[in-house]
């Protein structure tokens, strides 16, 4: 008995398996992309959100709403003061959208940005920094 051979392409697709990305992955990637900008930061430390302090080296908090392959992000971010807020948030929106799309294949349609704190750059935490 000889079964008809399945087309090579579809057998390959079946045997490859599936890649599933959780929402959290998109959130982390978007947060990391945002924190790579020198003028952006998040908050770190604290317990249950109490006592958290603003930190330029922390990842901003990102929440993702996924609808199929389309995502709507909301980013809570801290920014350097003074920077032109409209320009830098627009730049960040473009960059997050490009990078998330390139890294995950998810199309980012909307990015809502909330500026939660503004701080000057020369404010140090008192700790030593790696140069």
């Amino acid at each position: 008995m000889k079964t008809p051979a399945a087309p090579a392409g579809s057998r390959d697709l079946d045997s490859r398996g599936r890649t599933v990305l959780y929402r959290k992955v998109v959130e982390k990637i978007a947060g990391q992309v945002a924190s790579e900008e020198s003028f952006a930061g998040g908050s770190s430390g604290g317990f249950l959100g109490i006592g958290a302090h603003s930190d330029f080296s922390a990842r901003p908090k990102v929440t993702v709403e996924l609808a199929g392959n389309i995502a709507a992000l909301s980013v809570e971010i801290g920014l350097l003061y003074p920077v032109p807020l409209r320009q830098v948030t627009e730049q960040m929106r473009r960059r997050i959208s490009e990078r998330v799309n390139a890294l995950t294949g998810v199309e980012v349609r909307q990015i809502d940005i909330t500026v939660s704190w503004l701080k000057p750059a020369d404010e140090t935490t008192g700790r030593r920094r790696l140069l």
């Binding site: 003061y81 920077v83 990015i111 500026v115």
Partner: protein
């Protein structure tokens, strides 16, 4: 820092003044008899102003209800006027900084910007404390500041720093010139507590 109901008061006082003036002139004209001389339909001087019987008019239930409603209305208006006298801060809620909401919104609380301005003012020499309040919209912001300095402060220097650094930085952040700026200065005997550490890049000798 707080806003008062100045314009409202002036408007209503002018209206009430004109009404009272008109009433006074009318009474004077009636008392002197000029009104009767001008028009014979009106009352003569030294005769009752209301010629008819007031009791029969006022006994009707509809007139009582009308007078009652007018009284309640005037009382309510007076109460609203008194409540409008309470000084209010009227801060801006949040500034919308996005151009195209379809691609996402950008929101910044006016208090976040106010805190950034306060932080910057507090680093000026001689400043003990400050509070900043933003009003208006993102395109036409108003900034009001209360700056407390101690007796070591050079006030001209503080004002110069605010005008050359603090205000331009805020208009740079909002990308628009400030429509109005107010500075209230206070002098206090307290010491400035900010600035307990200083950054140094000194040479280390082993």
């Amino acid at each position: 820092m707080r806003q008062h109901a100045g314009a409202l008061n002036r408007t209503w006082l002018v209206i009430l003044g004109i009404l009272a003036l008109a009433g006074g002139v009318l009474i004077l004209l009636a008392a002197s008899g000029t009104l009767h001389a001008m028009s014979s339909a009106t009352v003569a001087a030294e005769s009752p102003v209301v010629p008819g019987d007031l009791h029969t008019v006022l006994e009707q239930a509809s007139v009582t209800a009308l007078v009652l409603m007018a009284g309640v209305l005037m009382g309510a208006l007076g109460l609203l006027w008194i409540l409008a006298q309470i000084p209010r801060r009227n801060p801006a809620d949040r500034y919308r900084l996005h151009q195209d909401p379809a691609s996402g919104t950008t929101l910044c609380d006016a208090s976040v910007l106010g805190a950034a301005v306060e932080n910057q003012i507090n680093t000026l020499p001689g400043v003990v404390g400050s509070s900043a309040l933003l009003r208006g919209t993102a395109m036409e912001p108003d900034l009001t500041m209360k700056v407390t300095v101690n007796n070591r402060a050079d006030i001209q220097d503080v004002l110069h720093s605010i005008n050359t650094r603090v205000i331009p930085d805020l208009s740079k952040a909002l990308e628009t010139p400030l429509r109005r700026t107010g500075i209230q200065l206070e002098v206090s005997g307290r010491n400035a507590v900010a600035g307990t550490t200083v950054e140094t890049t000194g040479t280390v000798i082993y």
